[in-house]
C-alpha cells in the first residue's frame, strides 16, 4: 500500500513544496543580507581591508628675530605596526624584540596604545636609527603590518644653547591622552613639551595627513590609494618667529656662561619686552629627548647637583638682595619720605643698631654720611635700613606689591614661578604667630633679603620701568603686541637721578666698576644674595645700556659666584656683545 502511485505522487508533492519553501526562505535570507543590509556589510568589508595610515605633519619652524633657525625638522623614521588584535600585536612585538631592543614594559605600553585605537597603526619607535631601519626592511615580510615611514623629527641646530626656552617634543603620554584638553590627539603623535614647543603647541603642530592603504588578511600592504581614496597630504604649520637674537643667545650660552657659570640670564629690550636671550646654566641638549631619552642621559640630568632641567630664569627664585634697594628707594620717593639728596640720621660706620640687634653693612669700614644717590652707587645697607624704617612696614609691603613683586611676568613660556613677597602683616602672623616677630623684618626687606624671593624675569620687568618712562613691560619671546603697564609714579628729574645713580654703580666709584664698557654708559645694580646656611651666596646684576637710551636690559643671577660684580661682568659681556654686534650689523647693512 505504501508505494501506491497516488501515495507516491502525494509525497512528491509535499516534498516539492518543502523544497520550494526552503529555497524561498534561502533566497529571502540572501535578499536581506545582500540588498537590505548591503550598506552595513559593504562598510564592514571596506573597514576590513582599508586602513588609514597617518602621515605626520612637519612642525612649524621656530626662528629668531633675523630668521635664523632655532628649531627645525629633519628626516627621521618611525616604526609602527597595524595590529590585528592585542594578542597578535604582543606576539609580533615579542618576535620583533629579537631585532629591536624592546623592554617588556614597552611592549605592554604598545598594547595599551593599540587598545586605545585599534584602527590606527601603533607607534613602536618614533625615531629609529638607520641601522635598525635597514634590518627591519630586510625582515619586513616576517612582520605583517609593519609600517616604516619617514617622519619629520625635531632638531635644534644650536642644541644646548637654546634649551632654556625652546623645550622639546615627545610622543604624547597615556596620561595626556586621557585628559580632555588633548581630546584631538591620537596615540603615537608628537607633542611639544615645556618651552616654546609646549607654549605654542597648537600653533606649531600642523595637521596630520592620511594615506589609505589596502591590507590583506595577514596584514600585508597590497596597494596604496585603494578604493579611489586619495591620500590627504599633511599640512605643515607656519613658522614661529621669535624676538630671540640667536647670535647673542649662543654667545651668552657658550662664551659667557660656558661650562663654568651656573645661573640664569635674561636679556630684553626694555621698551618692547622682546626677549633677546634667555639662558639657564647648566644646560642640556633638547635633542636628547627626541625619540627616547636614554637611561644614561636621564641619570646624568637627574644626578647633576645644579639640576639642568630646573630653569634658573623662570622657575628659580632667589633673594634679590641689593638689586631690590631701587624698589625701596622708589617707594620712599613716591611716598615723599626721602629725596635723592637726603641723608639719614645715622651715618654708616659699618652697621646699624636696631633694638638689641646690630645690622651690618657689607662694607665693614662704613660708607660714612651718604645721600640716597650715593647710597645706591655704593649699595649702603645702613642707609636703606633707615629708609625702610622711615617708610614703615605696611607702606613697604604695599609699595612693593604695587611694583608687581608678587606677580608673574607673563612671559610666554610655561611653568613660570610666581615671585614671593609678603602681602601684608598677616603673612608674618601666620608664619611666626602674632607675637613671634618684630618690626625688624623691615630692615631685611629694605635691602632685598628676608621673605623676598624673585625670579630673574621679575627683576628684569622691574628694571624695565626704571630704564624707560616708568612702564613695566611684559617680556615676550614670540613676536607679539607690546604690553606695558605704568608702575612708577616719579618725576622726570627723579627718574633721571635714579638712572644716574645706577650709572654710578658701573663707574670707577661704584660696586660694579669692573663692568664698564668703553664708549657706552651701562647702568645697573649689583646684588649679593644671602641664602639660608649652607647654601652659598649668589650674585645678581640687573642693568641696561646705553643708560640714556636703553637698547638692552639684562637680568642675571649666578649661583656659583658670591659677589655682585661677577654677575655685573657677565651682564656686561652680553650687553657689550649685543650693542657692538648690532652696530657692526647696522654698518654692514648700510654698506
Amino acid at each position: 500500500m505504501s508505494f501506491h502511485p497516488n501515495e507516491i505522487a502525494r509525497r512528491a508533492r509535499v516534498a516539492s513544496f518543502i523544497l520550494m519553501g526552503t529555497f524561498l526562505f534561502l533566497v529571502g535570507a540572501f535578499f536581506r543580507t545582500q540588498v537590505l543590509l548591503h550598506t552595513r556589510f559593504a562598510l564592514k568589508s571596506e573597514q576590513n581591508r582599508l586602513r588609514e595610515v597617518p602621515l605626520p605633519a612637519p612642525r612649524g619652524i621656530i626662528r629668531d628675530r633675523n630668521g635664523a633657525i632655532i628649531a627645525e625638522n629633519v628626516p627621521g623614521y618611525s616604526v609602527s605596526i597595524l595590529g590585528q588584535s592585542a594578542d597578535s600585536l604582543r606576539a609580533t612585538l615579542q618576535r620583533l624584540s629579537a631585532t629591536v631592543s624592546l623592554a617588556p614594559a614597552q611592549i605592554e605600553e604598545a598594547v595599551r596604545k593599540y587598545r586605545r585605537d585599534p584602527t590606527r597603526p601603533t607607534v613602536i619607535l618614533s625615531d629609529a636609527d638607520f641601522p635598525v631601519i635597514s634590518v627591519l626592511e630586510e625582515h619586513a615580510l616576517d612582520f605583517p603590518g609593519l609600517i616604516i615611514q619617514s617622519a619629520p623629527k625635531r632638531y635644534y641646530p644650536q642644541r644646548s644653547a637654546v634649551a632654556a626656552f625652546v623645550g622639546y617634543t615627545r610622543e604624547i603620554t597615556e596620561g595626556q591622552l586621557a585628559a580632555p584638553q588633548f581630546a584631538d590627539y591620537e596615540p603615537g603623535q608628537q607633542i611639544g613639551v615645556i618651552g616654546l614647543e609646549g607654549q605654542y603647541e597648537t600653533q606649531l603642530r600642523g595637521r596630520e595627513g592620511t594615506r589609505f592603504v589596502e591590507y590583506d588578511a595577514r596584514g600585508r600592504e597590497v596597494r596604496r590609494g585603494a578604493g579611489g581614496r586619495q591620500d590627504l597630504a599633511p599640512e605643515g604649520a607656519a613658522d614661529l618667529t621669535t624676538n630671540i637674537d640667536l647670535a647673542l643667545q649662543v654667545y651668552v650660552a657658550d662664551s659667557v656662561f660656558g661650562d663654568s657659570l651656573v645661573g640664569g640670564l635674561m636679556a630684553i629690550n626694555p621698551r618692547t619686552g622682546e626677549v633677546l636671550a634667555l639662558h639657564s646654566a647648566p644646560s642640556f641638549d633638547p635633542y636628547w629627548f627626541i625619540g627616547r631619552l636614554s637611561d644614561d642621559r636621564y641619570n646624568q640630568l637627574r644626578n647633576d647637583p645644579y639640576k639642568p632641567l630646573y630653569n634658573k630664569v623662570l622657575q628659580g627664585r632667589y633673594p634679590p638682595a641689593s638689586t631690590f634697594k631701587l624698589a625701596t628707594a622708589i617707594i620712599g620717593l613716591q611716598k615723599g619720605v626721602v629725596k635723592m639728596t637726603d641723608r639719614m640720621p645715622v651715618p654708616c660706620r659699618g652697621g646699624f643698631q636696631y633694638g638689641n640687634r646690630y645690622f651690618r653693612c657689607w662694607e665693614k669700614e662704613g660708607h660714612g654720611d651718604v645721600t640716597l644717590a650715593r647710597a645706591i652707587e655704593v649699595s649702603c645697607n645702613t642707609y636703606f635700613y633707615q629708609l625702610g624704617i622711615r617708610i614703615g612696614l605696611d607702606r613697604l609691603l604695599d609699595g612693593a606689591t604695587a611694583l608687581k613683586f608678587r606677580e608673574r611676568t607673563g612671559l610666554d613660556l610655561p611653568d613660570e614661578s610666581a615671585p614671593q613677597w609678603p602681602a601684608s602683616r598677616e603673612y608674618f602672623d601666620k608664619l611666626y604667630t602674632a607675637r613671634g616677630w618684630t618690626e625688624a623684618e623691615i630692615l631685611n626687606l629694605a635691602i632685598g633679603q628676608g621673605h623676598n624671593d624673585q625670579t630673574v624675569a621679575s627683576m628684569a620687568r622691574f628694571y624695565s620701568a626704571l630704564a624707560t618712562d616708568g612702564m613695566a613691560v611684559r617680556p615676550q619671546i614670540a613676536k607679539g603686541r607690546v604690553e606695558r603697564q605704568r608702575i612708577l609714579d616719579l618725576s622726570d628729574v627723579q627718574m633721571t637721578a635714579l638712572r644716574d645713580a645706577l650709572a654710578g654703580v658701573v663707574s670707577a666709584t661704584g660696586t660694579a666698576g669692573s663692568a664698564q664698557i668703553q664708549e657706552i654708559v651701562l647702568a645697573g645694580k649689583t646684588g649679593t644674595g644671602q641664602r639660608p646656611y649652607p647654601q652659598p651666596d649668589i650674585a645678581w646684576f640687573v642693568g641696561f645700556a646705553p643708560a640714556n637710551d636703553p637698547k638692552i636690559l639684562v637680568s642675571v643671577v649666578l649661583i656659583n659666584r658670591t659677589h655682585g660684580y661677577n654677575a655685573a661682568r657677565t651682564a656686561k659681556a652680553a650687553i657689550e656683545y649685543y650693542l657692538k654686534q648690532s652696530t657692526v650689523q647696522l654698518t654692514g647693512t648700510e654698506g
Binding site: 526552503t22 529555497f23 548591503h38 581591508r49
Partner: protein, 414 residues
C-alpha cells in the same frame, strides 16, 4: 550512442550548468592578491568533472536491477573502506585535523562521499523489501542499523557534515517509504530532547508533547517505555555528551548559537563570509574581483565557503541563479523518484535527492550563519575530487532511474 544513454536532458543539463558555474567559482576562488596554493586547483577540478561525466555515462548503463543486486556487496565494501579510513586515513586541506582521506594509487579518495550513495542503495533495498511501511519503532531496526553503523564510523573521523547528511537521508527515505509523520517525530524525539536539554522549561514542554504523542499513537508498551526513557536520558545526559565533543566542535556549535561572541575567534569565518556576501549587493563586485576573497579575509573560499565567493562577486542575482538551478534540479529528481518504475528505484532517487538537498541547505545556510559551520561541501561547486565524482555518479544513477521510469519525465510541471 549518447542519445541512447542520455535520455533525461533536463537532468544532465542542470548538472552540467551547475558544474561549469561551480568550476568558474573555483577558478575565481584561486584569484587572490597574494599567491596561494589554490590558484590552479580549478584545473584539477575540471579533470574531476570530466572523470565524473565519464563515470556518469558508464553507470547510467547499469540497470537498476544490477544496482539493487550490487547494493549489499557495495555496502560491505563501504564499511570496510570506512574502517580502513579510521586506521590509515589522513587529513587534507581545510580539514587537516581529521582522518577522511585514503590514498589509492596516486589518488586520495574520501570514502565518506561514496558512502552516501551506497548507504542510500542499501537503505532503499531494505525498505523496498517490505510489503508495508513500518508502523512501529521495532520494525525500524533494520533501516536504522543500515545508517547507524556507517554513521558511527564517519563521526569517528570526525566528519560532522556527512553525519548530518546521513540523518537527512534516513528521515527522507523513511518518509518516502510511507512512514507516518508521528512515527518520524517519535524516532527523532531523542534528538529533539538532546537539542532542548539546555533549557529545562523548553525540554519540559517538549516532554509533555511527547507523552501526548505516545498516548495518541499507542505504540507497543515496550516502545513507549523506551521512548520516554531515551528522551529522559537525552535530556539529562546532554551535558555529559556535550563534554565528549571535541573542543573545535563545541566551539563551532557555540559559534552557531552566538556568532558575535568572539569575532576574531571561531566566529571569524562566519562573520567574514557574511560580510563578503552582504558587500555583494545586487550585482556583486564582479567575477574574480571580490575583495574579501582576494585579500584572504574569506576562509576556505574554494571549499566550504565557495558560495560566499558567488555572493560577493555575482551578488544577489548570482546567488539567486545558483539557488534556482539547485531547486530545478531537486524538483526534477523528485519527479524522477515519483515516476520510478519500482519502489527501490523511487527510494534511491529520493534518497539521493535528499542527500544533495541537505548539502545545499547546510552549506548555503552556513555562509549566512543560519546553520552551524560543519564543513559540508556544496555539490558541483566546492573543490573536491571525490565529491565531484560522487555527484556525477549520482547523476548517472538518477539518469538510469529516469530512463527506466514510467512515461517521459521531460515536463517540468509538478
Amino acid at each position: 550512442m549518447l542519445r541512447r544513454t542520455v535520455t533525461d536532458y533536463h537532468l544532465v543539463l542542470l548538472a552540467l550548468v551547475l558544474s561549469l558555474f561551480g568550476l568558474a567559482m573555483v577558478f575565481s576562488a584561486g584569484q587572490t592578491d597574494a599567491p596561494s596554493a589554490v590558484t590552479t586547483v580549478y584545473q584539477k577540478q575540471f579533470v574531476w568533472m570530466i572523470l565524473g561525466i565519464m563515470a556518469m555515462l558508464v553507470i547510467s548503463r547499469a540497470s537498476v536491477r544490477l544496482l539493487d543486486w550490487m547494493s549489499v556487496p557495495l555496502f560491505l565494501v563501504t564499511l570496510l573502506l570506512l574502517v580502513a579510513t579510521l586506521v590509515i586515513g589522513t587529513g587534507a586541506g581545510t580539514a587537516a585535523s581529521s582522518k577522511s582521506w585514503i590514498g589509492i594509487g596516486g589518488f586520495r579518495l574520501q570514502p565518506a562521499e561514496f558512502a552516501k550513495i551506497t548507504v542510500v542503495l542499501m537503505l532503499a533495498r531494505v525498505l523496498a523489501s517490505r510489503r508495508n511501511a513500518p508502523r512501529s519503532l521495532i520494525e525500524l531496526w533494520q533501516p536504522a542499523l543500515v545508517v547507524l553503523v556507517p554513521w558511527v564510523l564517519i563521526m569517528r573521523q570526525p566528519d560532522l557534515g556527512t553525519g548530518i547528511a546521513f540523518i537527512g537521508i534516513f528521515f527522507a527515505m523513511l518518509y518516502w517509504a510511507g512512514v507516518s509523520w508521528p512515527l518520524l517525530l517519535l524516532v527523532a524525539s531523542p534528538g529533539i530532547s538532546l537539542l532542548l536539554a539546555t533549557d529545562t522549561k523548553l525540554w519540559g514542554g517538549w516532554f509533555l508533547v511527547l507523552i501526548a504523542l505516545v498516548l495518541h499513537y499507542r505504540p507497543y508498551l515496550i516502545e513507549g517505555v523506551v521512548l520516554v526513557v531515551s528522551n529522559v536520558i537525552m535530556g539529562i545526559l546532554a551535558p555529559t555528551l556535550w563534554n565528549r565533543l571535541s573542543p573545535y566542535q563545541q566551539k563551532r556549535l557555540l559559534t552557531f548559537l552566538d556568532p558575535q561572541a568572539d569575532p576574531r575567534g571561531s566566529a571569524y569565518h562566519v562573520l567574514q563570509s557574511q560580510t563578503a556576501i552582504g558587500s555583494g549587493g545586487w550585482f556583486g563586485q564582479g567575477f574574480t574581483e571580490g575583495s574579501q576573497k582576494r585579500l584572504g579575509y574569506l576562509p576556505a573560499q574554494h571549499t566550504d565557503f565557495i558560495h560566499a565567493v558567488t555572493g560577493e562577486e555575482l551578488g544577489f542575482i548570482g546567488v539567486s541563479v545558483v539557488l534556482v538551478l539547485f531547486l530545478l534540479l531537486f524538483l526534477r529528481t523528485t519527479r524522477i523518484a515519483s515516476r520510478a518504475n519500482d519502489s527501490f528505484s523511487g527510494l534511491v532517487a529520493f534518497g539521493l535527492t535528499a542527500s544533495w538537498f541537505v548539502h545545499v541547505l547546510v552549506n548555503v545556510g552556513m555562509t549566512l550563519s543560519l546553520m552551524p559551520v560543519t564543513g559540508i561541501p556544496l555539490p558541483f561547486f566546492s573543490y573536491g575530487g571525490s565529491f565531484m565524482l560522487a555527484s556525477w555518479l549520482t547523476v548517472g544513477i538518477l539518469l538510469r532511474i529516469s530512463s527506466e521510469g514510467r512515461g517521459r519525465a521531460d515536463a517540468l510541471s509538478l
